[in-house]
């Protein structure tokens, strides 16, 4: 399976940089072989894989560990696709995809897990290359599609995949309108948009008339609204969570949106009508007609017909999005209630003040959530409040028997995921 293991050990990178250019004459390899160039820290390895039977992800992972002499080190794998995007390899599917797309060279970038979690992003590779001075490599990558001043979208790690937005009610809305649902749970991303007053033109039996309207005025870079690609500047806002905004002031609409911000459904009339969803007779469900994941949909905003690549490649994500769809109504109102275990029932002895305040320090609010997450087999679900909610309702008996002896580690977990805020 593995052909020549080491093409070029390259340990003294700095001094031999210029020389390397010469080695880079493309080797004419047979068509059934994929040339692989992997990089870990400052070291490069070159080898080849069979195009037809590259093996599975685990094998490949171990192979790389061996080749780079880093057994036991947890690493993340990424590859450069034809657009110059750095995309992750973490399962068989995307490994196979990576191999099949390699033309001619498959470039693998390995990073340590404990480092800053690998930033997978469009265009990110080009920037990185520049930093290393490996500009020559660009010839293999068709990065021309991206303008230089426009950095690519940020792509999260697969385990953070969750549904962040969806287009809904396609079948009952006029084609010129779009109803977008933004999921703001669990993310630290801002919703990231601004609205303004404006004038909207309506066609009425009496003719064209101008009425005041509310419009999106700005999208914040890196915000949820921008990253979905479903909302645009100058889109007119028609409804907020099903309530018509006609006749409401900008401040009223603002308050309505903020009040619904955890599960915001805005119906807009997009300023750009070219990307409108075309009606499909086959679509019958009123629920989520399409979901747009945050990964793999760089340009494809409307992938509602086929499952998004993200959910396809990641079963966890897929199941999550279902869970979210089902339990949205519930988790929009989960107020966090902390109860003090020191607050004894009446007949028992009461505990003194000082003791109590210790336990009740703001830094150690222990919630039932922590404990549930401990026993949850999938650590990924920590970030998903609804799944926790679901598990909560499932075993409500367990929750009341908990005695506040949760491990502090789970508490840390909690903090990182930002659940304290979003509950």
């Amino acid at each position: 399976m593995v052909l020549p293991a080491l093409l070029q050990p390259n340990s003294r990178l700095g001094s031999r940089m210029s020389k390397q250019q010469h080695y880079r004459t493309p080797l004419r390899l047979p068509d059934n072989v994929v040339e692989v160039k992997s990089k870990f820290e400052a070291e490069y390895r070159r080898f080849a894989l069979k195009r037809n039977s590259p093996g599975d992800f685990q094998e490949f992972y171990r192979l790389l560990q061996t080749i780079h002499h880093i057994p036991g080190v947890d690493v993340l794998l990424g590859y450069a696709d034809v657009h110059g995007d750095l995309l992750p390899i973490n399962n068989d599917d995307n490994f196979l995809k990576a191999v099949s797309l390699a033309s001619p060279l498959l470039r693998i970038i390995i990073s340590k897990k404990e480092d800053e979690p690998g930033v997978f992003a469009t265009n990110s590779l080009q920037r990185r290359k520049k930093g290393l001075g490996l500009t020559g490599l660009r010839t293999t990558v068709s990065g021309s599609a991206h303008s230089k001043n426009k950095p690519g979208l940020m792509i999260g790690l697969p385990q953070n995949f969750r549904q962040i937005s969806s287009i809904i009610d396609v079948d009952i809305l006029p084609e010129t309108h779009r109803r977008v649902r933004l999921h703001k749970h669990g993310t630290n991303k801002p919703l990231g948009f601004y609205i303004r007053d404006g004038v909207s033109v309506r066609v009425t039996p009496q003719g064209v008339e101008k009425v005041p309207g509310v419009f999106i005025s700005r999208l914040v870079r890196g915000g949820l609204a921008e990253s979905t690609g479903l909302l645009g500047v100058n889109d007119e806002i028609l409804e907020v969570n099903g309530i018509d905004v006609t006749g409401k002031s900008l401040d009223q609409v603002t308050d309505m949106m903020v009040a619904n911000s955890h599960n915001l459904i805005v119906t807009v009339k997009p300023a750009n009508q070219r990307n409108n969803v075309v009606h499909r007779g086959s679509k019958t469900s009123v629920g989520n007609c399409g979901s747009v994941g945050s990964v793999g949909s760089t340009g494809s905003t409307l992938s509602h017909d086929s499952p998004s690549p993200a959910s396809q490649s990641n079963p966890i994500t897929a199941s999550n999005s279902i869970a979210e769809g089902d339990s949205d109504n519930e988790d929009d109102d989960r107020d966090l209630i902390l109860e003090n275990d020191c607050l004894t029932p009446f007949d028992s002895h009461h505990i003194t003040n000082s003791n109590n305040t210790n336990l009740y320090d703001r830094d150690s609010p222990t919630s039932i959530l922590h404990s549930t997450t401990v026993r949850t087999p999938l650590p990924q679900s920590i970030s998903l409040p609804n799944s926790v909610g679901a598990s909560l309702s499932d075993n409500s008996t367990t929750m009341s028997t908990l005695n506040g002896n949760t491990a502090s580690s789970s508490h840390e977990n909690m903090r990182e995921d930002g659940n304290i805020i979003t509950l």
């Binding site: 919703l191 603002t254 209630i337 805020i421």
Partner: protein
């Protein structure tokens, strides 16, 4: 789809009928002093006084309780008012040179909530007239009206104008007598040549009818000429060739002489003897405050008395250099001379005397002076001319109102003691004379219960008002300044009765006397009162202020000198890294201070940092007070004088709150927003102009600029609230309750606190000696030495993080818990302690009911998500049915930032009715709103006026009276009455949006009156469960109650509650 949902609700006719019997919205009466008064008149026959305002309102007052209002269609200042004596008619002159005739009409009987009510007398405009003149340039037009004179016969109105002409108008038809018009040329003809000198006589300054001979009027021209004109012969009887610029004229009663006042600060007395046509010199001419240049005497009155010398009353005339800025009125009789020194401008004044012409003397009984900010009445028959307290028109804003508080059904004992304390305060100033304006007959039944309105002021005073009836009468004034050591000694309060005004008069000239109580200048803004709480049963009062001071006061009938106990509570609780950049705390007095009978301070608690107190709660039965600022809250036992609890609510990232007074942060935000709006406004207007005349190049350029500006319009950020929003730690509400916090079987004292960031803290309190049964339970805890203890029980973080506006605990029947003492002294129905309690938490965005002790959501209503409005004020109110004697309902009243009232039933939180009440631009009005316990409320419509409104069909406090007229009082046709009825307000309001409580058609903007129609989005079929109650019980509860048994117990409770909840909802 949405419409379908709307139709589903509100179809139960039975319920609709009940709603009509419970709820009705009315703005009933305005309390306080009219904002910006501009005219004054008096009807001596009907004994009614009218005040006109700059906003075009005419308010008529008679005996206390008799008042009514007329509102001109245009918001133009009323410059003059004239009564047609005895007829119930009056004439008003507006700033736009129009004359309006008003009539008193009896309103048609109307029906409120199925109960017939008598029609209310109101003012209605019956005609108007404006003198013909060149349109457009009215301000300099010759026909601009300067003065009006209504003849005693009431059939002719003489109109003096700027151009010097006098016009005559027939009444009541308001038609001009064309041929009678007296132009200046006619007068000039008869003048001697040396006086004429080619100049115009100037505008007509004064018109006065001869007191004895009808048909003769005195015309005074600005240049100084006074003519006695005979209307029948149309000839000048006599001419008085004055040389000084004329300001006003007044007849002596007999008509033998008249007095003129002049621009130079002097007045002259002219004899009227028929012997000579030309009078060159007055008998006497005096400049009272000379010899240095004086200001004009704008109005003068001359009144004869039986006892001796006539009384001369005039406004102005002060020495220009030394006292030119004073607002003065002089009363002079023989040697007695008093210069009343007011704090605001004199608008007009009149004297009250017997109207019968047969009497030989005027013998004025009282002087009524309308000032810009208050009404002052001087008793002219008591020696020393003391001032009379006014039963209405009280200047609420004598110092700016900072907060208010309403107490309903005050116990008679407390009432009596308050009245006595108030009387003692007035002391020497009080005369025993009755109120001289006594027109009309108050038909309103004396209210069954006494109501108190407490207003806190910027100068640290709390004023107690009798709010039981239509007239808001001052009862008692409490000053908190003397608890502190301030720059000025608190004892030289100008209102203090001990400083005798006569003492200082001896040497001073002019002999000033401070009159009136309008005093907008505060010695120290930190003294300002922010929160008030009064326990009407124990007579304990808590007053909290701007510098973090919380004062507990007790009522005492004796004067007392004592030292006030001081405690300092650090709310930061050794939180580090914060600095307070605001004001210092007030310095408490170290020496014992004298305290007058009334409320006397017992304990002073000072919060550190000394930020303004934002919430306060008093539980007199437990001897506890709770108070909150922008940094945290504290609990203090004022009986044992110890701090029970101090809790910091600051978020670690919140640095803004620490910086200083709240206003700094707020005002920055506000000013930014305002400046944005201003830019926007100017842009809009600029654009309009360019459309009108698009030719000019400059304007084109401007338009282009405006277009460019369009790129950055006013925009709002859409972001959920985060924990580190500034001011998140501000404590918004506090409440005490005896309820179930620990478990479902034992109840006990609790304290609840809500913050700006949607956090609610619930503490279980250990109060020794509370509930004798329970004390023995615990064993050994009954010693009084045991301190109160507080244990944190629950912490609720509302997910939407909106500020918590109010917290209220509901008993087993879903009724709010009674006030302290009410239950223990059998003054109210005892709360249901057998069934599970619940807590109602109202945030700015949502109303939510949670079960207790297991905090899980039972019902909720998401107001902001549906309406885009935010809750500003919340109150739990008992509405009694107007039809059924013993039927009442507890209702939650919400005032939103759009100024509308939403009514919800509890605990179901089902919307009942919605009314538009306050204009949404009127931010101070919305902020000042207070509710009574039985469905009325007050809000400020100007700095000096409260509008009283009623949401209840039964409890309505509105003027009900009769006026005896010379003519027949015809009721208006029923159709008209509705238009006049709601307008009994002296301010122009947008009547368009006023929902008049027509419950048969549920207000469509209330989108979700039914609990199970939460969202109107078609997608939300699945969301239907959202607001329903049963499924909501699983909350993220951090429950670490000790034992498994206990937990199971709780679970059982939950189940019980669930069953119970649905029961309530079905009802």
């Amino acid at each position: 789809m949405m419409k379908f949902r709307f139709r589903r609700q509100g179809t139960d006719p039975q319920r609709e009928k009940i709603k009509q019997e419970l709820f009705a919205f009315n703005k009933t009466v305005e309390h306080g002093f009219p904002h910006q008064p501009s005219a004054l008149a008096f009807d001596p026959k009907l004994q009614l006084m009218a005040i006109g305002t700059k906003s075009g309102a005419i308010k008529v007052y008679g005996a206390p309780g008799v008042e009514f209002t007329g509102l001109h269609k245009d918001t133009t200042a009323v410059t003059q008012i004239n009564f047609l004596p005895g007829q119930g008619r009056l004439l008003s002159l507006l700033d736009d040179n129009t004359i309006h005739l008003w009539e008193l009409v009896a309103g048609a009987p109307r029906e409120v909530g199925g109960v017939k009510k008598e029609g209310v007398v109101s003012l209605q405009e019956v005609g108007n007239y404006s003198l013909p003149g060149r349109p457009g340039i009215e301000s300099c037009s010759a026909t601009r009206v300067t003065v009006l004179l209504l003849l005693k016969s009431c059939d002719l109105l003489c109109i003096g104008t700027e151009g010097g002409g006098v016009y005559f108008l027939q009444l009541p038809c308001l038609s001009l007598k064309d041929n009678q018009t007296l132009l200046q040329d006619q007068v000039t003809k008869s003048l001697p040549d040396d006086y004429r000198c080619g100049k115009s006589l100037g505008p007509v300054e004064s018109l006065q009818e001869h007191p004895q001979q009808s048909g003769k009027i005195l015309i005074g021209y600005s240049r100084g000429l006074v003519v006695l004109w005979d209307l029948s012969t149309r000839y000048a009887d006599q001419l008085f060739l004055g040389k000084q610029q004329l300001e006003s004229l007044v007849w002596e009663r007999t008509g033998n002489l008249f007095v003129s006042s002049h621009n130079d600060g002097g007045y002259s007395v002219w004899p009227v003897t028929s012997s000579n046509t030309y009078n060159h010199q007055p008998v006497t001419s005096t400049i009272p405050y000379g010899p240095f240049p004086c200001k004009a005497i704008s109005k003068i009155l001359y009144r004869t008395t039986q006892t001796g010398s006539p009384v001369l009353l005039y406004s102005g005339g002060m020495p220009r250099a030394s006292y030119g800025d004073r607002h003065c009125l002089t009363i002079q009789q023989d040697k007695e001379h008093i210069t009343l020194d007011f704090t605001s401008r004199v608008i007009d004044f009149f004297t009250i005397q017997s109207p019968e012409p047969e009497k030989e003397f005027d013998d004025p009984s009282a002087l009524v002076v309308l000032l810009e900010e208050e009404l002052v009445v001087i008793d002219l028959q008591s020696p020393g001319w003391p001032s009379l307290p006014t039963p209405y028109l009280a200047p609420l804003h004598s110092s700016a109102i900072t907060c208010s508080c309403h107490i309903s059904s005050v116990p008679p004992k407390l009432w009596e003691r308050l009245v006595n304390a108030g009387k003692a305060q007035h002391g020497l100033q009080q005369t025993h004379r009755s109120w001289p304006i006594s027109g009309g007959k108050n038909l309103a039944l004396p209210s069954k219960q006494q109501e108190l309105l407490l207003t806190g002021h910027e100068d640290g005073t709390v004023r107690f008002w009798d709010a039981s009836g239509v007239a808001l009468t001052p009862l008692y004034k409490l000053s908190t300044a003397n608890v502190f050591h301030t720059d000025c000694d608190p004892s030289d309060d100008p209102q203090d009765p001990s400083d005798d005004p006569d003492m200082q008069q001896e040497e001073e000239w002019p002999p000033f006397r401070k009159v009136g109580c309008f005093d907008p200048y505060s010695d120290d803004p930190r003294l300002g009162i922010q929160k008030i709480s009064l326990c009407k049963y124990s007579n304990k009062l808590v007053v909290a202020g701007t510098a973090g001071q919380v004062i507990v006061l007790g009522l005492s009938d004796e004067r007392s000198d004592h030292l006030v106990d001081v405690s300092v509570v650090d709310l930061l609780q050794d939180r580090e890294g914060f600095t307070w950049k605001g004001h210092d705390r007030l310095e408490p007095r170290l020496k014992p201070a004298p305290f007058a009978p009334g409320f006397q301070p017992l304990v002073l608690v000072q919060c550190l940092p000394p930020a303004s107190v934002t919430a306060v709660a008093l539980h007199a039965e437990w001897n506890l007070i709770a108070f909150g600022t922008s940094h945290g809250f504290g609990l203090f036992d004022y009986h044992r004088r110890n701090t029970v609890l101090a809790r910091c609510t600051l978020h670690p990232n919140d640095s803004l709150a620490m910086e200083g007074p709240l206003s700094r942060v707020k005002s920055l935000k506000k000013s930014l927003r305002q400046s944005f709006r201003r830019i926007r406004k100017s842009r809009v207007s600029g654009k309009k102009r360019t459309i009108n005349t698009p030719t000019s190049k400059v304007q084109e350029a401007n338009a282009a600029l405006a277009e460019q500006e369009e790129v950055a319009p006013v925009q709002r950020r859409i972001e959920p609230r985060s924990a580190d929003d500034s001011l998140s730690g501000v404590v918004r509400c506090l409440c005490f309750a005896d309820t179930f916090l620990r478990d479902g079987t034992h109840h006990g004292p609790t304290l609840w606190a809500g913050t700006n960031s949607g956090s609610v803290y619930a503490y279980a309190l250990e109060v020794p000696c509370v509930g004798s049964g329970r004390v023995s339970d615990r064993g050994g805890a009954s010693e009084s030495s045991v301190c109160v203890e507080a244990v944190l029980g629950k912490e609720i973080q509302l997910m939407h993080r909106a500020p918590v506006v109010s917290i209220c605990v509901l008993d087993g029947r879903g009724k709010p818990l009674p006030d302290p003492y009410e239950a223990s002294q059998d003054l109210a129905i005892a709360p249901d302690m057998t069934n599970a309690h619940s807590v109602l938490i109202a945030s700015e965005e949502q109303l939510k009911v949670f079960s207790l002790p297991k905090v899980s959501a039972k019902t909720k209503f998401k107001l902001t998500a549906h309406e885009g409005c935010r809750v500003r004020k919340v109150a739990l109110v008992v509405f009694s049915s107007a039809a059924q004697e013993d039927y009442s309902e507890h209702t939650l009243v919400c005032l939103t930032n759009l100024g509308d009232m939403h009514l919800f039933n509890i605990p179901g939180l089902r919307p009942q009715v919605r009314y538009d009440c306050i204009r949404k631009e009127d931010i101070s009005g919305i902020a000042s709103c207070v509710f009574t316990k039985n469905g009325q409320g007050f809000y400020l419509i100007s700095p000096s006026e409260y509008e009283r409104f009623s949401l209840s069909a039964k409890v309505v406090t509105e003027p009900l009276f009769s006026v005896q007229l010379d003519r027949l009082l015809e009721p208006t046709p029923a159709g008209d009455s509705t238009t006049t009825q709601p307008q009994a307000n002296g301010t122009h309001k947008n009547q368009m949006g006023q929902a008049e409580g027509q419950t048969e058609e549920p207000p469509s903007s209330l989108s979700s009156p039914n609990l199970d129609t939460p969202l109107d989005s078609p997608l939300s079929c699945a969301d239907l469960t959202l607001d329903s109650t049963g499924e909501l019980t699983v909350e993220d509860v951090r429950d670490f109650l000790t034992t498994v048994d206990e937990a199971e117990n709780n679970l059982k409770n939950i189940k019980e509650e669930e069953g119970h909840t649905t029961g309530i909802l079905i009802n």
